[in-house]
Symmetry: C2
Subunit: 114 residues, 2 copies
Amino acid sequence: MSTGNVAAIARVKNAAPLFAALGDETRLQLIGRLSATGPLSITQLTGKARVSRQAITKHLEVLGEVGLVKSSRRGRERIWELEPKRLDDARAYLDRVSKEWDDALGRLQAFVED
Amino acid sequence: MSTGNVAAIARVKNAAPLFAALGDETRLQLIGRLSATGPLSITQLTGKARVSRQAITKHLEVLGEVGLVKSSRRGRERIWELEPKRLDDARAYLDRVSKEWDDALGRLQAFVED
DNA sequence: CTAAAGTGCAACCAGGAGGTTGCACATGAC
DNA sequence: GTCATGTGCAACCTCCTGGTTGCACTTTAG
């Protein structure tokens, strides 16, 4: 690891909760919905889901805690929208791991051919 | 969504368990370790971890179920190694979502400027 | 003002996730 | 053959997660 262990560990600690938040079908659907439609209220997001409003609220809060979405008040409604920067983090992490992965396979290949 | 809802839903259903498997610090460390060192046995992987061998075994099986790693026998040892293709799936999914995300922001921007 | 809409809060519940321990079983080393 | 090594299996435990329901509270609509 060219960046050293400290950076590597820090990356892992940030990435795990992020992936955990993405690791739920309902939450991925919420993300898909928000990206397709733009900012929506809780009630609107609950509409096509097959779970209760409270369940949706909890999912949104989980996504919010890792910074994937954020909310704001509009009258009596609470509007949720996507937070682009955070998704890039996840992508960057996967790109990085993917590269290390390829490197490892390259080394293995070289070793086998020895 | 240009690919239609069926494809979109299928993608979500595949992606969620994959991200869930990645959403654990110990498992990310196992992946990092395997990518840095190459194939390793359970005992070797347990070495630097701070949980028991059985815990490590369970984590490896979780990773194996979503196809991120695979195992083979070598004498009395069980060797685990990375499975590159699956990581690309995750990356491809994030790239896709990230693109939709950008599109959504683009549309929103256009709307606001109206 | 009154009613309905949209949320927030809290209690509660079942099931799964992550962890441990103990013991049996295979296999390599000597 | 014997002993140490490396795993597999199973039981068990605790805590978190995803889900529900009931009720109170704030706003908007009429």
